[in-house]
């Protein structure tokens, strides 16, 4: 299971410059990597020049719940940029196994680090 690094001074600076967005994690599907209540920083421009890569942590929406942001891990990618995502905690996660591939417009960005 891949790790997530802690934020550095540069990450905080990027956040202050609005190049990163903070999110607070809620739920258990990313255990043991992310605990409920932890915060992460997200690069919303991450996939403008490159496609999502396998093992990336991403923030997405799903077609059936357009009001929720979800945090998941990319398991597989398609040529058009769509992702198949899963939670690290496979037994307690609602993910692409339920809602299928996530199309590029529903991918908000890549998680770059924990927030402090």
């Amino acid at each position: 299971m891949s790790q997530i690094r802690n934020s550095t001074f540069l990450d905080v600076l990027l956040w202050l410059l609005r190049q990163r967005q903070r999110f607070r994690v809620e739920g258990v599907s990313m255990l043991p990597l992310l605990l409920s209540g932890e915060e992460v920083l997200v690069d919303r421009r991450a996939y403008r020049r490159s496609l999502p890569a396998i093992k990336d942590l991403v923030v997405i929406r799903t077609p059936d719940q357009p009001n929720l942001w979800l945090i998941k891990r990319v398991i597989s990618t398609r040529q058009d940029g769509a992702c198949f995502v899963q939670g690290d905690n496979l037994f307690q996660s609602t993910d692409s196994r339920v809602f299928g591939w996530v199309e590029p417009p529903l991918i908000l960005g890549r998680v770059t680090s924990r927030f402090l």
Binding site: V28, S36, V59, G87, F115
Partner: protein, 160 residues
């Protein structure tokens, strides 16, 4: 000097971040209208028993006490189970069903509103008609529920 950790804590408190869900439905995605059906069956059964129970003849205080005890227990169970049926239905309505299902079943809200009102009616009254209507309404909810999962193989059955 203020540590980075302290500053971070202050930032998190003063400027709450939007929430991103490490999402797990339910927490495990397990929903089933059977829970409401079982409660509604208990309501129907208690309604029948209340209606069938005969008060004792004459002025035997012991027989009267036994009668009142039994009827009170029936009433209490009917009240509880009607409330439970309503709770189980509301969980399906608010937690399981999503806007996309509303497209498939445009009268979804009306159905849930009506079935919730039937639960209340069964709780307040001793009405065989309403108790039967409640079972029928839950059967309709069950059909709708399994249709959203493309499961046409789930039969409607009763425990009693």
């Amino acid at each position: 000097m203020l540590s980075l950790k302290t500053i971070a804590t202050q930032i998190k408190t003063w400027f709450p971040a939007p929430i991103v869900y490490a999402h797990c439905d339910g927490p495990c995605g397990v929903y089933d209208p059977a829970a409401a059906r079982i409660a509604a069956e208990a309501v129907l059964s208690m309604t029948k028993k209340i209606l069938e129970l005969q008060p004792p003849d004459g002025g035997d205080p012991k027989a009267m006490a036994a009668y009142e005890n039994t009827i009170t227990r029936y009433v209490q169970i009917k009240e509880e189970q009607a409330q439970l049926a309503k709770k189980e239905l509301l969980v399906l309505w608010t937690d399981y069903f999503k806007p996309v299902h509303l497209e498939q079943f445009p009268d979804l809200h009306t159905q849930f509103w009506n079935v919730a009102k039937l639960c209340s009616a069964c709780k307040v009254e001793v009405s065989l008609q309403h108790a039967n209507e409640l079972m029928d309404a839950i059967e309709e909810i069950q059909k709708m529920f399994w249709a959203t999962k493309n499961r046409m193989d789930v039969p409607w059955y009763k425990a009693s």
